[in-house]
């Protein structure tokens, strides 16, 4: 792709992504006042974040992959059950994955 074509794609894609963000902020307030809509919006966030955890921990591209990220996530879950602070959870997960990879796990 020529530099000009790449620049066009960069700007156009950025505009699309920004427009999607803005649309979410322009939803009328009274739509959200209904309890069922408010509950659904909250559940959508739960679903998106949960799916992100799964996809980030267990996939590469279109493949399901079990590597050092899974034991790292298990350590994070245990830390959360023990009410560890956020930064401790994240550092423990990174440390677990780094250690397992240093020991030869993929």
């Amino acid at each position: 792709m020529s530099p000009a074509a790449t620049w066009f794609a960069v700007i156009a894609a950025s505009a699309v992504v920004f427009a999607l963000k803005l649309v979410g902020h322009l939803v009328p307030d009274h739509w959200l006042a209904k309890p069922r809509v408010a509950r659904t919006a909250a559940l959508v966030t739960v679903a998106l974040l949960s799916a992100l955890v799964a996809v980030q921990a267990a996939t590469i591209g279109r493949h399901l992959v079990a590597d050092a990220r899974l034991p790292a996530l298990a350590v994070a879950a245990v830390a959360l059950m023990l009410r560890a602070p956020f930064i401790v959870v994240v550092v423990l997960a990174a440390g677990t994955a780094a250690l397992l990879r240093a020991l030869g796990m993929s």
Binding site: A9, S14, L43, V44, T45, L49, A58, A98
Partner: protein, 228 residues
């Protein structure tokens, strides 16, 4: 908000910003490898500012894909940011120039920190600190990654990919106290993983949200007193 509660929100926001920002190194490095210039790489982090969309965009360009495919893939992965808007607008009450600014900062991390707080003031604080913090760190480290390239090595060596997954787990954790939310979370994980082999990147996560829409609209109202 007590000073202690305020400090807790700031600590969480800054932790998320640093963890996410560090991952920007790998974006910067990979973008240059995919054939983008340093200026184009920085334009993506400044203007697009959505990690999933950015990685997908350079992935398509690097694989020799057409501009249209790169734009569509970035949009598909960015669509979930549009679903976050209705979650954060009641907390922010942003008007005028703050509205587009808030929109640009509406990403996984800022939404997750904002909605994990127990009161609206803490949520608002968490949104802005996390949004601005991630923006600054993400762009600084994108630049570093683009300039240093591969000299730093694979971010996976430091477990940064696992850190990203753990961060999202920690952020969704407080919402899982509710039975209905746990059900939705389990179904979302199943849908996300089951669809991964068969659909383009970004689609599994979006379709997982459909589960929540169906459950939220159909499940009996009294099963959950308070939205999570």
């Amino acid at each position: 908000m007590t000073p202690d509660a305020r400090r807790a929100v700031l600590r969480q926001s800054i932790s998320v910003a640093v963890a996410t920002g560090l991952y920007g190194i790998s974006f910067g490095a990979l973008s240059v490898v995919a054939g983008l210039s340093t200026a184009q790489t920085m334009a993506l982090s400044l203007l697009m500012f959505s990690g999933g969309s950015q990685f997908a965009f350079i992935g398509v360009i690097g694989a020799g894909g057409a501009a249209g495919a790169a734009i569509a893939t970035a949009g598909l992965l960015g669509a979930r940011n549009g679903l976050y808007g209705p979650q954060v607008t009641p907390l922010l009450a942003a008007h005028g120039w703050r509205k587009p600014l808030a929109a640009q900062l509406t990403i996984d991390e800022s939404t997750a920190v904002a909605t994990a707080q127990s009161d609206p003031a803490a949520g608002r604080l968490g949104f802005w600190w996390t949004g601005v913090g991630v923006f600054v760190m993400w762009n600084l480290f994108t630049l570093l990654g683009a300039v240093l390239g591969d000299a730093l090595g694979d971010p996976r060596t430091y477990g940064l990919d696992a850190a990203a997954a753990a961060a999202f787990l920690a952020l969704v954790w407080p919402r899982l106290a509710d039975g209905l939310a746990r059900l939705v979370a389990g179904a979302a994980v199943a849908v996300g993983l089951a669809l991964t082999p068969f659909t383009p990147a970004g689609v599994p996560v979006l379709l997982a949200a459909v589960v929540a829409v169906v459950v939220g609209l159909v499940a009996p109202q009294d099963e959950t007193k308070e939205p999570a």
